[in-house]
Amino acid sequence: MSAQTAQWQDVAPLLQVRELSKFYAPGKGCGDIDFDLYPGEVLGIVGESGSGKSTLLNVLSARLAPDAGQVIYQSEQFGELDLYACDEAQRRVLMRSEWGIVHQHARDGLRMNVSAGANIGERLMAVGERHYGNIRERAQAWLEAVEIDSSRIDDRPSQFSGGMQQRLQIARNLVTHPQLIFMDEPTGGLDVSVQAKLLDMLRGLVAELGLSVIIVTHDLAVARLLAHRLMVMRRGQVVESGLTDQVLDDPQHPYTQLLVSSILQN
């Protein structure tokens, strides 16, 4: 037990974000973002539409260059990397191996005109797997892990329901054993019953694989279920951050209090 307690402080942060800013116009974007993400941590970014959550996610995941600031990532392959000072090629390697990106709309993260198996296999091939049998076997295992019948391996995602597409997108991302996953409203646009299933599955996978996750959501229930800690954004700034249940049960900032008190109780 004491070995485990000692461990927590010796680890280096996976991601260090320093004075990061990206503005399209005054108040449109995000600014002065500072935080560390540790291995195995799930960070939720919450706030209303237009608060800058998605802009921040794009800047963090090397898809949108910031105006100022740094994102330093501890890579398995390259060691410490300053994301916007390193090689474009290195960033591309990260994106298809050590990172995963789960889009709100599965069609943005999947290739809709190739089979489910090929969608998963493509990422494996991108990291050098060439053996067809191995690829198919692992695609099958991952379909089952996300509760899609493996007999559907040759079907195209366009023949899947919305919830299945989202689960396929997750399988495609996880097959290369990434250490960091970015998620943008992963349950948005799904029926409530489908959401519950997806959330439960995500929760299990994140814990089992020890993934580090940055998840953007406007749904505080999703944040409570998945995130260890939260950053609350408003007009491009972080107005409050901390332990998830502390932020939601004892919010300090007027905006967080408003957000929390606006949820319908049942």
């Binding site: 485990q4 307690t5 540790y38 519950a196 299933k197 929760r203 007027p254 008190s261």
Partner: protein, 229 residues
Amino acid sequence: MTTMISVQNVAKTFTLHNQGGTSFAVLEGISLAVAAGECVVLHGQSGAGKSTFLKALYANYSVDAGAIVLRDGEQQVDITQAPPRRIIALRQQTLGYVSQFLRVIPRVPTLEVVMQPLLDLGVAREVCEAKARELLTRLNVPERLWQLAPSTFSGGEQQRVNIARGFIVDYPILLLDEPTASLDAKNRQVVVQLINEAKRRGAAVVGIFHDEDVREAVADRLVDIRLSK
């Protein structure tokens, strides 16, 4: 005696920014030490801040002043200053909390709900399952319910599932917020036994109990939480 909980001069004020900025002090200058094997029961009228204080001990509520130092193995952790991941580690192995309400996770069967905290510590599944079965049996949750998600259970059944989940890990520090609130006498007695077993293995317990019989059966000491003016 090993001190497990040491609270020094804790103060807490709630400010409701969206209701005219009304603010009210709930806790003022509270200090308390709880030793291993001791059960402290918080006392005071409704609204005095007992529950707020208990939530502060779990780091569920923040405090404005003072320190709350908990013993975690060989380390001392001031939870008013510790980063979130430190608190999460503390809650996984050291700090347990049982409220009267179960926060249900959709779809997850009762047995899994109860086992989860012990599984998260890396304990073998068979061991977790055996302990979960034992607790559910002791708390008179019928076996036919174990494979169902507790969302459709009665209030009393949910509460007993919650207690089983709260006692599955042998936490060195245990916080209990009216865990017996809607239980019948027979099940209240089971909870009393569980608390006394926890004390015997050295757990420091802080609780709120409205039933006098429970209070008398478990408390070593009553501590007054007074409404601050």
